[in-house]
């Protein structure tokens, strides 16, 4: 009886003390790691799901906290994907391990994932609301937190005194734990640019940057902010499919703009003249690309277009410009899938010159000097929404399309140290010629004699990454992102992220 009276008294006291908080205080939930099955990028998926779920659980009477130690309940979950169908299950338990609520959602495709997480959060919150919060449980929970020995009141901790948070209990951007540190983010840039080219570094330290939309070239200077200096626009019905820069021998910066008109090459050459863009040549029958082959000095290369289905014809050649005339020399034979935009070369440790190519299915393939395949990746890289079309009437009866779609791809860069850098886009909707990428990342590899070993990769962006550039001189990675696609009457918008790579 005495025990009962004491217990009653304790309960009454706790009720009296905690009456208001029980009604009005937020329930503190900690979303623990979620298990992921059936997808490729498990680590990223875990983090993404954890972040999404935590943010959607927060609000009203629930607060998602950063550790189990400060939580009233811990939510764990699992994500299982079989084919396109997925299921996300969540289980809420008290810190003592008692099950409070359980909920699940499923979807037919990945487009439904984010809405499904919101639905799951709502379901779980509804289930939690049904759980009677017994005073006994609250009391036991409180008692569980009371230390065995009386502690003096804590004074606010200084930064150095804050205990390190255990790994996995804090959802944080992954870039901290990856190889890229620091960074710069542009403001929203008008126009959904599909191409980016880097020019000279000016005396004030700013960098010349060029972005291209379907028919528009924008000249920026990137200092503390992106300053739009000039724009140039091409006439209908032209489409820009490549944008490259190269300094001529006397310090002028040339822009090589590869242009398609009605399935034929009508490329242009522009030049930066002070704060203006000036066109100096037109109707050039070449694909242009200025880049560093095997990490060497940046040079201009060109390739031609053939008849019929020969979208890329002949060898890739080194090109030099004299006025409006392009001269080709030093031809490079392409291996299978190789064309001016999908290849680069690097030297192996034994001095062999190997060729890396992104295949049409976006596998990274390495060929030896005799163009024989040595290695190919198991994962897919590359991926671009940029394409051009050529007449394909002979196949129209079968394909239903008068045109053949030729997709451009992410370019392969090779650094002076021989590292192979390649972009990668992922998306829920990549089906034949219908491509809508959602995230992008950049990967760096090194050849170990038998395979390309991954050295680092960036955290996936939250947007499609149409283009990237690794500035080896500054050790900076420039990632162009499409923050809004162009619409019926809108140019869309882009942003530029620059990351320091260490």
């Amino acid at each position: 009886m005495k025990k009962q009276i004491i217990l009653m008294a304790l309960l009454l006291m706790s009720l009296a003390l905690s009456a208001v908080p029980v009604v009005a205080a937020q329930m503190r939930l900690f979303v623990a790691d979620m298990s992921v099955t059936g997808v490729q990028n498990k680590d990223e998926m875990k983090t993404t799901l954890q972040t999404l779920f935590a943010s959607r659980l927060t609000g009203g009477t629930v607060l998602a906290v950063g550790s189990a130690a400060e939580a009233d309940a811990v939510v764990s979950g699992s994500y299982v994907s079989i084919g396109k169908v997925f299921s996300v299950d969540a289980l809420a338990k008290t810190v003592g391990g008692k099950t409070l609520a359980r909920a699940f959602v499923q979807g037919d495709n990945q487009d439904e994932l984010i809405p499904a997480i919101s639905t799951l959060a709502e379901k779980l919150l509804a289930e939690l609301a049904k759980v009677p919060v017994t005073t006994e449980e609250k009391l036991l929970a409180e008692l569980a937190r009371v230390p065995d020995t009386v502690q003096p009141p804590r004074t606010p901790a200084t930064g150095s005194e804050i205990n390190p948070i255990l790994n996995g209990e804090l959802i944080k951007p992954q870039e901290v734990s990856r190889n890229d540190t620091g960074g710069w983010q542009s403001k929203r840039l008008a126009g959904a640019a599909s191409l980016m080219a880097v020019g000279r570094t000016r005396a004030d330290g700013s960098r010349e940057l060029f972005l291209a939309e379907t028919r528009r070239i924008s000249y920026y200077r990137q200092g503390k902010e992106m300053a739009l200096i000039a724009e140039g626009e091409l006439a209908e019905p032209r489409k820009i499919i490549s944008l490259d820069t190269l300094e001529d021998g006397v310090g002028n910066l040339d822009l090589y703009v590869t242009v398609i008109r009605a399935g034929e090459l009508v490329s242009q050459i522009w030049q930066v003249n002070g704060d203006k863009l000036v066109q100096i040549a037109d109707e050039q029958p070449y694909y242009f690309r200025a880049f560093s082959v095997a990490g060497g000095p940046k040079k201009l290369f060109a390739q031609t277009m053939g008849r019929g289905d020969a979208d890329f014809f002949g060898d890739v050649s080194e090109a030099t410009r004299s006025g409006k005339t392009i001269t080709l020399k030093n031809h490079i034979k392409m291996p299978r899938y190789g064309n001016i935009y999908t290849f680069n070369q690097f030297r192996a440790s034994d001095g062999a010159l190997l060729t890396a190519v992104l295949s049409t299915d976006n596998y990274l393939i390495v060929y030896d000097e005799n163009r024989k395949e040595l290695w190919r990746s198991n994962d897919k890289f590359g991926g671009s929404e940029l394409f051009f079309q050529r007449d394909d009437s002979d196949k129209m009866r079968t394909t239903g399309d008068q045109y053949r779609w030729i997709f451009m791809n992410q370019r392969i860069q090779v650094t002076p140290s021989g590292a192979v850098v390649v972009g990668k886009n992922d998306g829920f909707m990549v089906l034949g010629n219908a491509r809508t990428y959602k995230t992008g990342a950049v990967y760096c590899f090194a050849w170990n004699g038998s395979t390309l070993d991954e050295k680092w990769h960036t955290r996936a962006t939250q947007n499609y990454m149409p283009d990237y550039y690794f500035d080896a001189a500054r050790n900076e990675l420039l990632m162009l992102q499409t923050v809004q696609r162009s619409g019926m009457n809108e140019r869309g918008a882009s942003s530029l992220t620059i990351k320091k790579v260490e």
Binding site: E236, A262, E264, G306, F313, D361, Q402, L431
Partner: protein, 490 residues
Amino acid sequence: MNLKKTVAIAAAAGALAAVSVPAMAFDNEFHGMYRSFGYLTNALSGAGGFGLGTENAAGKKTASDSADKYFEQRARIQYIAKASDDLKLVTHFELDTKFGGSQSSGKYVPGAFTTTATTNPSANGDGGGLDTDKVSLETKNVYLDFNCPLTGTNVKIGAQPYSDSMFGLFGNFDAAGVVLSKKFNALSASYGYFTVGSSSTNGIGYDATGKGSNNYTQDFNTFDVKYALSKDLTLGASYYLLLDKVGTSTTGTGSNHTLGLNGAGKFGPLSFTAALGYQTGKSNTQTQTTSALSTTGGYTSLTTDATSAYAVALATKTAVGPGNLLLSGLYLTGDENGTGKNKSWQPIGNGVTYFMPSNMWLLVRNGATINSSTAVGGSSDITRGGRGITGLFAGYEGTADKLFYNGNIGWAQVAKARVSATTTAASKDLGYEFNATVGYKLYSNLTASATAAYLVLGDAYGKSTGLILPGGIHDASNPYLTNIQLNYTF
């Protein structure tokens, strides 16, 4: 083991199997299209026909000249199971539907369509009727596509698409066969073998004398070479041999030889494609409507009279202003009487010839058409029963951001007016067509467009007196169509 455990194990095994698919390194590739047309026309019916109407004596429209309004759609799904870059299985399916269901004829209707069935809505065969659940899936292609590991030769075996090297004037079709192709630097070569027809009586097993069904087939052999002389000029040659053994027992083996030269080039702003064809040999007269060379002449003695026919076609595209000027022409020889030496160009079959560069809708069928894929006369046979054709076509196409447009004019006549013993032909003139299309690219893969086409009918189809072409009527009104098209390809 109780049922629950059994179900759980089965489910786990199924899940494992499903999850393990990516580990098998199969790439799943999908392509396809969806296209719908909303028509307002006095010519098309949505069931494959092309009807000409007349006005009455007072110049008023008659029932035969009334306009029809209907919607139709086509969906295609292509699934490619790719084991590697060198091995894949290609499957391609098609679903055609007329809104509201099929009519009493046309390709929608599977099997025979009886008079009784036309009065029964449940007989709709295309899934366009109420509740839609009809069998309407057509198999278009199923073939294996692989590269020989020893020679590097590409092999395609199975029911596959094939197009000749002369704009599809001889044939652009799907058929079951084998195609071998290989590239040697600038030279590419291919050989194909197809079985395109078989006897209706001896098509399976052995006949009474022990001869196998292969003695009663139509075997189509193709040889194609193309050589890229430079980036701006490619020349090619082709030889198509049709060995026709269907009529062996009565008329002997027919052999149709089609020789061709083709080229594609670019000179400044002008690009062109050209083809020349010559046909010789002997053809059987056929009774099977699905057989090759069955409908292009109506001859009675082709096994004894050699064929000698020609085809010439040219298409150019020139960059002018904000768009392109399109010019094209074709000439297929025809035969004036259907007896003696056969001078008519013979496509491999009825309904498998195209001339896409014409950009016509009523005079020559348009490449974008789906279920209503026909032209004046009600035939997709471009030779009009072996009479040949002479056609000239001009157009202009352009774009303005996401807007696209084109306008075309075309004229055509049969190459030879067929005469009979008692009647002379009314005319060779098929008429002039004017058409225009305006469209908008809603998304990169989805376009919406509107088209209007009008044909000033020539006397060959609509003169008041004389022998007019099959499919024509005396005093016919000019045919027209308008359509709204939604087109999604991926």
